[in-house]
């Protein structure tokens, strides 16, 4: 919500293309992530007066001589007491150009899995680096995770520039070091901005203290970032979520397959193929509660009717006959381990959820564990512990319809769930497929 009346023009019409940009903060403890988000909200006049009064009061009670803007997102009692972020906070703001969903994630290594939660759906990762400390292990870990999660845009905010006399040299050194590290990763789009979250340089307003910097302040960069082309509109993938079969008299013959378009564009009349049956038919109609639509694309939630009665249920996948995902029971994947109680080990079985399908999976092999600092692969590794990343081979009880994660963030992703505790223990990303690897 913003204070400017300009915002109302787009709030009126739900079809008007004000799009949604999701971004997540990342970086080491105390690099200033939460402060930066607070500053962004404050300088874009998105903070409500009662919220501001409350953080001013708390700051004063603690004897701070400035208002601690991190308190705007650090909402849990334990976070406020310790001055750190423990779990993701979601914040929202809009400018006349865009609506933003912010995930402010913790820098503390113990809470890395919460960073993964925040970054998994992000279009942009804002990696903060403390200008005094440079690129730390946790900056590298988070950058590596962001690229592993396929976040298409990375913005490195070199923060606390006020503490290094706004030095261009410091900024350039960090830029060089970071670029060197990033060149070994898959980073499609990398930008650097020198900021001071505390003072407000280059966050919403251009800084007078760094005339040597000719790039945009953070907010204008985020407003202009082109994200539409990051989505996969090529490969039709429609995981069936739910079969709609009304019990009422007038709609008794209705049978629709409800789901969210994972990728591609679907139209009535399109020839489609259903997995696992392999049967082909055509799309008779694409329904929504507001009537049929002429096409469906991500992330629309629709209900598809087919020309022929074929047996389809939840967990099945609708795609095009000449463009199908691989149906695999042996999966090669990278995993980020999230369970503090037990490591991932060879031979252990888990529940696996991929799109709308649950199955069971066994760890057949651990290929290697990645050292996030050096990106070195330890092939002797026999387990993957909390917050570690590794490459593994899984055997699944039934075929999953997968694409490589790099091509498809929806059909390339899965989670592992511990069958006794029901906790989500891993985020998994399908690697290259056997024939292409």
């Amino acid at each position: 919500m913003t204070a400017t009346t300009e915002t109302t023009s787009f709030a009126v019409n739900p079809e008007r293309s004000v799009d949604l940009l999701r971004f997540a903060t990342a970086g080491s403890v105390d690099d200033g992530k939460s402060t930066l988000i607070g500053r962004l909200l404050y300088d874009s006049k998105t903070i409500f007066e009662d919220q501001l009064e409350s953080v001013e009061q708390v700051s004063k009670d603690r004897g701070n001589d400035y208002t601690d803007l991190a308190l705007l997102t650090d909402g849990l009692r334990a976070e406020r007491e310790q001055g750190i972020t423990i779990d993701v906070a979601y914040r929202y703001f809009a400018t006349p150009k865009r609506k933003f969903i912010i995930a402010d994630t913790p820098g503390h290594i113990q809470y890395t899995r919460n960073m993964v939660t925040g970054a998994s759906t992000a279009d942009v990762a804002l990696i903060l680096v403390d200008a005094r400390k440079g690129v730390l292990e946790q900056s590298r870990r988070h950058t590596f995770l962001a690229t592993l999660l396929g976040v298409p845009h990375i913005v490195v905010c070199v923060n606390k520039m006020d503490l290094v006399d706004y030095s261009e040299d410091v900024f350039e050194q960090i830029r060089t070091e970071f670029t060197e590290f990033a060149s070994r990763l898959r980073v499609p789009d990398l930008t650097f901005i020198p900021v001071s979250a505390l003072v407000g340089d280059n966050v919403v307003n251009r800084s007078d203290n760094m005339s040597w910097f000719d790039g945009s302040p953070l907010l204008s960069h985020l407003e202009r970032l082109h994200v539409a082309s990051d989505r996969n509109l090529m490969d039709v993938r429609f995981p069936v979520q739910y079969v709609v079969r009304p019990q009422s008299h007038d709609a008794r013959d209705y049978r629709g397959y409800a789901g969210t378009v994972a990728s591609g564009v679907m139209k009535p009349g399109d020839k489609v193929l259903a997995l696992p049956s392999g049967l082909e038919t055509t799309i008779a109609a694409i329904d929504t509660a507001d009537g049929p639509v002429s096409e469906a694309f991500p992330p629309m939630s629709v209900t598809v009717r087919l020309a022929d009665e074929i047996d389809i249920s939840r967990g099945d996948m609708i795609c095009r006959p000449n463009n199908t995902p691989a149906a695999l029971q042996d999966i090669d994947a990278q995993v980020c381990w999230m369970d503090e109680t037990a490591p991932l080990v060879k031979g252990k079985k888990y529940a696996i959820k991929h799109t709308t399908r649950w199955a069971r999976a066994m760890v057949k092999e651990i290929n290697y564990r990645v050292d996030v600092n050096s990106l070195h692969r330890d092939e002797e590794a026999t387990e993957i512990r909390l917050n570690e990343i590794g490459r593994i081979q899984l055997r699944v009880t039934q075929p999953l319809f997968v694409d490589p994660y790099r091509q498809n963030r929806q059909t390339g992703a899965f989670i592992l769930v511990d069958e006794s505790t029901n906790r989500t223990v891993a985020a998994g990303m399908v690697g290259g497929l056997p024939h292409s690897a």
């Binding site: 739900p14 906070a89 709609v244 507001d290 096409e295 209900t303």
Partner: protein
């Protein structure tokens, strides 16, 4: 549309529909917690869309504090009738009479709703309950997952939440445990109003500004009615006011406003400078962490 870009409101709607379908497909017995306020109405409206042309395949539950505005109850009943959903009412008054909970000295039934809610969830065997909470409402809500795990006491543990990655929600629970699900997590108050306007959704008329008899108390304006009668020495005045939230009739304050149409409410919402809870809820002002504490105990 032609560029295959979905507007932000339609993206939010699509996400909410996805969440509803996921829960219905995976959980044994979900229900929707319906308060009669704007968020639960929007939630119900989207639930209807998610399963159309079939009916909503779960009951809705109203935890009735006995302190409802009549127009809110009327609106609730219109929705039940229109959608043909089953309504379960859990009565706080009844729970007081049975001795399950005790009336609090300040007259707020906000906190004592929790045991009533938990009892009803258990009695009906609900393993998932949809709530209309939004993360922009309050700093503890901003931290909560879409699928929020509750132990067998209905409690939330904010320091130990399940990772929630992509849209691969994990609703697995053991017997007695449950999840709260928040399909509107990513909506803001402005989104809600823009959507109500765009979809022309039926809401209680309390939300629209009218001249009402009000009394000022502790910096807030309360309508003079059976729940908040004038006290000794107070005097009423007539003001154009509306409600931004509807909680208990005895504790929900109105705000001064002339926004009497949905369009005007959208415009006003885009310009307001106070959160809806800060502006209207006597019950949330109690302490810095009031909401976190209530949520730990099993509150909505």
């Amino acid at each position: 549309m032609t560029a295959h870009v979905l507007s932000q409101l339609r993206s939010l709607e699509a996400e909410s529909i996805h969440i509803f379908r996921e829960v219905v497909a995976e959980m044994q017995r979900p229900c929707l917690l319906f308060s009669g306020g704007k968020d639960s109405i929007v939630m119900l409206h989207i639930a209807a869309k998610a399963f159309a042309p079939a009916r909503i395949p779960f009951p809705i539950m109203h935890v009735d504090t006995g302190l409802n505005f009549q127009t809110v109850l009327d609106c609730r009943d219109r929705w039940v009738e229109r959608l043909g959903v089953q309504l379960v009412v859990a009565s706080v008054q009844d729970a007081i009479d049975r001795g399950l909970v005790r009336e609090e000295p300040n007259g707020s039934r906000n906190r004592i709703q929790t045991p009533v809610l938990l009892e009803a969830v258990e009695k009906n065997g609900f393993d998932a309950a949809f709530g209309g909470g939004r993360r922009d409402e309050e700093k503890a809500r901003a931290k909560e997952r879409v699928f929020s795990f509750r132990d067998d006491f209905g409690q939330w543990d904010p320091k130990n939440q399940r990772p929630e990655i992509w849209n691969l929600y994990n609703g697995r629970v053991h017997q007695g445990e449950s999840i709260r699900v928040f399909p509107l997590s990513n909506w803001t108050e402005l989104d809600i109003w823009s959507y109500i306007e765009a979809e022309n959704i039926d809401i209680p008329d309390l939300y629209l500004a009218r001249e009402r008899e009000v009394v000022a108390r502790g910096g807030m304006l309360y309508e003079v009615n059976e729940f908040t009668p004038l006290r000794e020495g107070e005097s009423a005045e007539t003001k154009s006011v509306r409600y931004r939230t509807v909680g208990d009739a005895n504790l929900t304050a109105a705000v001064e406003s002339t926004a009497s149409t949905l369009r005007e409410i959208v415009e006003e919402t885009a310009a307001v400078r106070l959160t809806e809870r800060g502006a209207t809820r006597g019950d949330d002002r109690v302490s810095e962490a009031a909401m976190e504490d209530r949520k730990r105990e099993g509150y909505f």
